[in-house]
């Protein structure tokens, strides 16, 4: 919902804290996901994720969530699907060039990021969207990413970049 989405972005710091608690929990549940089978839990978890994030952020389920790097504003709601910053058409009042009655997703993202502890992550260049992930759970992808990088770190004690990549995903 549009008004809820604006509210969450304006409380980006709160949601950053919540997510920082939430991520280690779902990661610790890795043995559970593994025993149940990631493929089997994919659908129900994705449905739950779509419900929660749909209400809070108008989540579009791109499957590779970047909310924590975009000020808790879902940039898939930008009519141009921009993942790396606002376009040049933002109106003087901070509204969208295409939907003049709506706030620019990126103006909100920038404001949200300024509240967040790790807000400067908004300055990282994001890769193009992988459209084959559409509709899948970003949470489970994060867990698998974190676990994989931990296992890699065990085999090879040097710092692994994958860990960093996983941290950027939500």
């Amino acid at each position: 919902m549009y008004s809820v989405r604006l509210w969450t972005t304006r409380h980006a710091r709160l949601f950053e804290i919540i997510y920082n608690v939430f991520e280690p929990i779902i990661t610790r549940l890795h043995p559970l996901w593994k025993n149940l089978g990631y493929e089997r839990v994919e659908k129900p978890v994705a449905r739950l994720e779509a419900l929660c994030k749909g209400v809070l952020f108008d989540c579009q389920m791109c499957g590779q969530c970047k909310l924590s790097t975009t000020g808790m504003s879902c940039t898939m709601n930008c009519p141009k699907n921009l993942r790396n910053g606002p376009c040049g058409g933002v109106r003087g009042d901070g509204n969208c060039e295409i939907y003049p009655q709506r706030r620019c997703v990126w103006v909100e993202a920038w404001n949200g990021s300024r509240q967040m502890r790790n807000g400067d992550a908004i300055l990282t260049v994001q890769k193009p969207v992988n459209f084959s992930y559409q509709g899948s759970s970003s949470w489970l992808r994060v867990v698998r990413g974190v676990v994989k990088s931990r296992e890699a770190a065990k085999l090879n004690p040097q710092p692994v970049q994958a860990k960093q990549a996983a941290e950027n995903t939500q």
Partner: protein
């Protein structure tokens, strides 16, 4: 401007100098530190090549590069690839604009290779206007990539010889990478940082939106300097003549992202000959912009007033007697100078 190592035929690429990315004239001029002029070339709604050449000819001797727009304003015209193919055939140095609105990553990468093979040396990576603002509002917006990931993609093709998929490219596209920025749209604090982000993604030159608000532009340039961006990137400030106060008012209210201060509109409204005043204002803006630290040149967007560009550049004096290359100004002159 004629280089010592001009090819025998103007449509052949120049040798790529050490440290250069492209065989193009635009990069040569930028790297030589000359005040550079580019202009926007509006594509015709026609399949007649002569219409492209006629539109290009009005800039002869005054611009170092011309931007072939890619469905600007989301309106349908001749494609930028098609225009560039025609322009490079006679030796012009077009800046091929690529918009992410109409093509996915497969089409875009193919176009980059095709364009580079046709002699295109400069690519401007844009997100593009929304389909809703053009003549086909019922079209499907693609936006598979955005301007930033497009920059990274083309840089990867050029420097890593790889498609986005990782597949190898045998001869990479040697292009100078450009991007756009609008310092006059919110969120203002983000704009300079976004340029830094674009430079990190591969941008080597930036063409800005129309600059009518000089104080804001100066702040933006100071931020770029403080971020250390100016050492890695050439900034071409966007300028253009306003035809009348009414036109300016219309642009301000109908074209998102273009900010025209009240003072500018007032000045135009108070003039007896508004079109003349618009040109004079543009000349003064160019002269002011030239003095700002880090401005490497101007990008003139004179939509439907292209014929005024030569006069504006001439009267502004920014070329300081330098005459950019154009077809027909080639080897005889080169031999003379040799």
């Amino acid at each position: 401007m004629i280089f010592e190592d001009e090819p025998l035929d103007p449509w052949h690429p120049l040798p790529i100098l050490p440290g250069h990315s492209s065989p193009g004239r635009l990069e040569r001029v930028l790297r030589a530190g000359r005040f550079t002029v580019t202009a926007e070339l509006a594509p015709p709604d026609s399949a007649d090549p002569e219409e492209v050449y006629a539109r290009a000819r009005v800039f002869d001797g005054y611009v170092d590069g011309m931007n072939a727009t890619d469905g600007s304003g989301a309106n349908c015209h001749m494609s930028s690839v098609g225009m560039c193919a025609l322009l490079t055939r006679v030796g012009y140095s077009p800046v091929m604009q690529i918009s992410c609105r109409d093509k996915n990553r497969i089409a875009i990468q193919g176009d980059v290779l095709g364009a580079a093979a046709m002699g295109v040396s400069n690519v401007l990576c844009l997100s593009g206007d929304g389909v809703q603002s053009g003549d086909h509002p019922d079209a499907k917006p693609v936006f598979d990539l955005d301007s930033m990931s497009l920059l990274e993609t083309v840089r990867g093709m050029r420097d890593e010889c790889q498609f986005l998929s990782g597949r190898t490219i045998t001869a990479p596209p040697r292009v100078l990478l450009g991007a756009a920025e609008n310092p006059f749209a919110p969120p203002y604090d983000f704009r300079a940082l976004r340029v830094a982000k674009k430079v990190a993604a591969g941008a080597q030159f930036i063409q800005t939106q129309y600059c009518y608000d000089i104080p804001r532009f100066k702040t933006f340039m100071a931020q770029l300097r403080d971020l250390g961006v100016l050492e890695h990137c050439y900034i071409l400030a966007g300028v253009g003549p306003l035809a009348s106060a009414r036109a300016a008012e219309w642009i301000r209210t109908h074209v998102p992202g273009i900010d025209i201060p009240d003072a500018v509109i007032k000045r135009l409204a108070g003039a007896a000959k508004q079109k003349q005043e618009g040109k004079q204002l543009c000349i003064e803006l160019i002269q002011e912009l030239r003095e700002i630290e880090g401005v490497s040149g101007v990008h003139v967007m004179a939509y439907r007033q292209e014929e005024t560009v030569a006069e504006i550049i001439d009267r502004s004096g920014v070329l300081q007697g330098r005459e950019p290359w154009f077809p027909g100004r080639g080897h005889e002159l080169q031999k003379e100078s040799a």
